[in-house]
C-alpha cells in the first residue's frame, strides 16, 4: 500500500517531495497506531493544516470501515450456517499462522540480539504461562525505556 501512496502524493499530486515523505513514514512507524493512518494525517496536516489532517484521515478510514461493516453484517447473519462454520474452521489456523509470520518478519527487521531475544521471550512466557495482562507489559516497557533512553543519552 505504501508505494501507491508515495506515488500519489509525491509524483501525481506533487504535494510534498520524496525525502520529506520518507521522513514522515519513518516517524509514523514509530508512533502508536496504524502507520498508514499516521502518514495520511501528517501529509494532510502539512498540506492544509488541521482540516487537511481530518479529511486525509477520514479518507483513509472510510473505505475499510464500509467494507468491514458490510462483511460483518453478512457474517453475523450467516454465522450459524454450516458452510460458514466450515469456512472458519479452515481460516482460523491460517489467521494464527499469519500473525506468527508478522512476528517473524518484525523480528527480522529489528535485528534481534541476545538482549532483545531475552526480552522478547520473557514477554511471551509472561503472557502465555502466567496470563499477565499485555497492558501491564506495555506500560512497564514504556516506563523502563524512558529511563533507559534518558540514561543512554546522558552517557553519550
Amino acid at each position: 500500500m505504501l508505494p501507491l501512496i508515495e506515488r500519489e502524493i509525491t509524483e501525481t499530486k506533487k504535494w510534498i517531495d520524496k525525502e520529506e515523505f520518507l521522513d514522515i513514514v519513518g516517524i509514523s512507524q514509530s508512533m502508536p497506531g496504524v502507520m498508514i493512518l499516521n502518514v495520511a494525517t501528517t501529509v494532510g496536516y502539512k498540506i492544509s493544516g488541521l482540516s487537511g489532517a481530518v479529511f486525509a484521515c477520514l479518507g483513509a478510514i472510510l473505505p475499510p470501515f464500509i467494507s468491514i461493516v458490510l462483511a460483518g453484517w453478512f457474517f453475523i447473519k450467516a454465522k450459524d450456517s454450516l458452510a460458514v462454520k466450515k469456512i472458519f474452521s479452515g481460516v482460523r489456523p491460517a489467521v494464527i499462522a499469519l500473525i506468527a509470520i508478522a512476528a517473524f518478519n518484525l523480528s527480522k527487521a529489528a535485528k534481534i540480539n541476545k538482549l532483545t531475544f531475552f526480552v522478547l521471550s520473557s514477554v511471551i512466557l509472561a503472557i502465555v504461562l502466567l496470563n499477565v495482562n499485555p497492558l501491564y507489559v506495555i506500560l512497564s516497557a514504556i516506563a523502563i525505556n524512558i529511563f533507559y533512553a534518558a540514561w543512554a543519552i546522558e552517557i553519550k
Binding site: 516517524i27 514509530s30 508512533m31 502508536p32 497506531g33 496504524v34 502507520m35 498508514i36 493512518l37 494525517t41 501528517t42 496536516y45 489532517a53 484521515c57 478510514i61 473505505p63 475499510p64 470501515f65 467494507s67 468491514i68 462483511a71 460483518g72 453484517w73 453475523i76 466450515k86 474452521s89 479452515g90 481460516v91 482460523r92 489456523p93 491460517a94 489467521v95 494464527i96 499462522a97 499469519l98 500473525i99 506468527a100 509470520i101 508478522a102 512476528a103 518484525l106 523480528s107 529489528a110 532483545t116 526480552v119 522478547l120 521471550s121 520473557s122 511471551i124 509472561a126 503472557i127 502465555v128 495482562n133 499485555p134 506495555i138 516497557a141 525505556n145 533512553a149 534518558a150 543519552i153
Partner: protein, 172 residues
C-alpha cells in the same frame, strides 16, 4: 453505557499499540474479553479484518464494535481507536523538524520494539491454545502450509485466507 466501554477500550488500544496494526492485536485480544468475546470468536474477528482492505488493527476495532453494539458501536470503536494517534500525529507534525532526529525518541522506540514482537508472538500462542490447534490434524496442516507459503514464499495474506476458507469448506 456499552458505547462508553467500547470507547475507553479502543482509546487504550490506539494509545498503546506502538508499531502498527499487528501490535494492536494482543491489546484488542485482552479488551474484547470485557465484551464476552474470546477464543475462536476473536480469531474470526481477525479473519474478517484480514480479508477486508485496510489495516488489521483498525478493522478489528470496527468489527468488534459492530458485533457488540451494531453500527453505533462500530463507529465509536473506530473513532476511539484512531483518535489518540491522530492527536499525537498533529502534535508531531507541528514539531516535525525538531523531532526528526531525536536520539531519545530513537533509543526509546528501539527498546520498546522487541516487547511488541513478543506480545504479537504471544497472542498467536494464546490463539493456538484457544482453538487447541494440536488436537486437529487438518488445522495443523493448514497452519503449516500457510506459515511456509507466507513466510518463505511471501504469498499474499488475503490470498492465503481465501485459499484456507475454500480448503475449510471442502475438508471439514
Amino acid at each position: 453505557m456499552i458505547l462508553i466501554h467500547l470507547a475507553l477500550s479502543f482509546i487504550r488500544v490506539g494509545l498503546l499499540g506502538f508499531g502498527g496494526g499487528y501490535a494492536m492485536i494482543p491489546l484488542i485480544q485482552q479488551e474484547v474479553l470485557k465484551f464476552g468475546i474470546q477464543g475462536p470468536e476473536f480469531i474470526d474477528i481477525l479473519a474478517i479484518s484480514q480479508m477486508t482492505p485496510g489495516p488489521i488493527g483498525v478493522n478489528a476495532a470496527t468489527y468488534t464494535g459492530f458485533k457488540v453494539a451494531g453500527l453505533p458501536g462500530s463507529f465509536i470503536s473506530t473513532f476511539s481507536n484512531v483518535l489518540p494517534t491522530f492527536i499525537i500525529m498533529i502534535i508531531v507534525a507541528k514539531l516535525f523538524y525538531r523531532f526528526r532526529k531525536n536520539a531519545f525518541v530513537e533509543t526509546f522506540f528501539k527498546g520498546i520494539r522487541p516487547v511488541f514482537i513478543g506480545l504479537i508472538a504471544a497472542s498467536a500462542c494464546v490463539m493456538v491454545k484457544d482453538i487447541k490447534l494440536w488436537a486437529d490434524y487438518k488445522a495443523i496442516l493448514i497452519f503449516i502450509v500457510v506459515l511456509i507459503a507466507g513466510y518463505r514464499f511471501r504469498v499474499n495474506p488475503i490470498f492465503l485466507i481465501l485459499l484456507s476458507a475454500i480448503t475449510g469448506f471442502l475438508i471439514y
